[in-house]
Symmetry: C2
Subunit: 134 residues, 2 copies
Amino acid sequence: MVKLSKKMEYALMALKHFAAANDSIVTAKEISEKYKIPYELLSKILQKLKKDNVLTSIQGTKGGYRLNKKPEEIDLHFLVQSIDGDIGMTECQCSENKGGKCTHNDDCSIKEPVSQMQKEIEELFRKKTILDFV
Amino acid sequence: MVKLSKKMEYALMALKHFAAANDSIVTAKEISEKYKIPYELLSKILQKLKKDNVLTSIQGTKGGYRLNKKPEEIDLHFLVQSIDGDIGMTECQCSENKGGKCTHNDDCSIKEPVSQMQKEIEELFRKKTILDFV
DNA sequence: TCAAATAAGACTAATTTAGTCTAATATAAA
DNA sequence: TTTATATTAGACTAAATTAGTCTTATTTGA
């Protein structure tokens, strides 16, 4: 029904950690070891979060990552988009599917109610922030 | 983020059709052809719905399926459980995972907020019924 | 110069989801 | 009683998605 990807789980765990670390620099390795998250996978997640300005990074020795936003400014809808990409409830809802074409018959017309649900769930995700996880 | 499985899409399309058919008998073949849904796949979906008393079936020639509940009595949480099985947002939330053990460190503690979200989304799904799709 | 970190992308493995194939059973009607 | 048309059932295969690994480059403080 509704399932967070492992990546999202990892991102939430990491961001919770960053939020608790209170602006001090934390490395991917530390988080990877503490929560037993595969290092390379976590690295890529943190890199994405950096690209989307959720984190800032410092390269080289003594480097690492740090929060670039307040926990309450990081909402889950944004995170899901950043990490998993924008996924709609059905193909019809997908932003990739520009034409909005239904793979089935146009008669299917479950589009509107599904679209409505989609909105409600998005709203729910938008209201949740990292602050709710600290 | 939130994605309906194809099976759920098919189930919704079919149930909408049954609801519109107003107690007349409809065959799997008819629905399969009208909405271009693979016949065998649809058949199994309808069989599951029958097992869970959403539909009744009549075997043999002139057989088919018919709604066994009012559209407003068929909610989406029930449907998802019937068709996809009970899936939680993360492993921790899964009903299969009786112990509630986290695969990561117990420190991860994103459990509670995720569990809260899970409840909210379940509530949303429970409030939606086939009536919203007619 | 070296060690420890981020950055990036290709690749593989595992899991889940979707769809197919085969065969049995039921029943109305010719 | 045979036939055509349905549901029922379960094993199997294919496709797609997700998770994880491997390799290499770059940055930078000591």
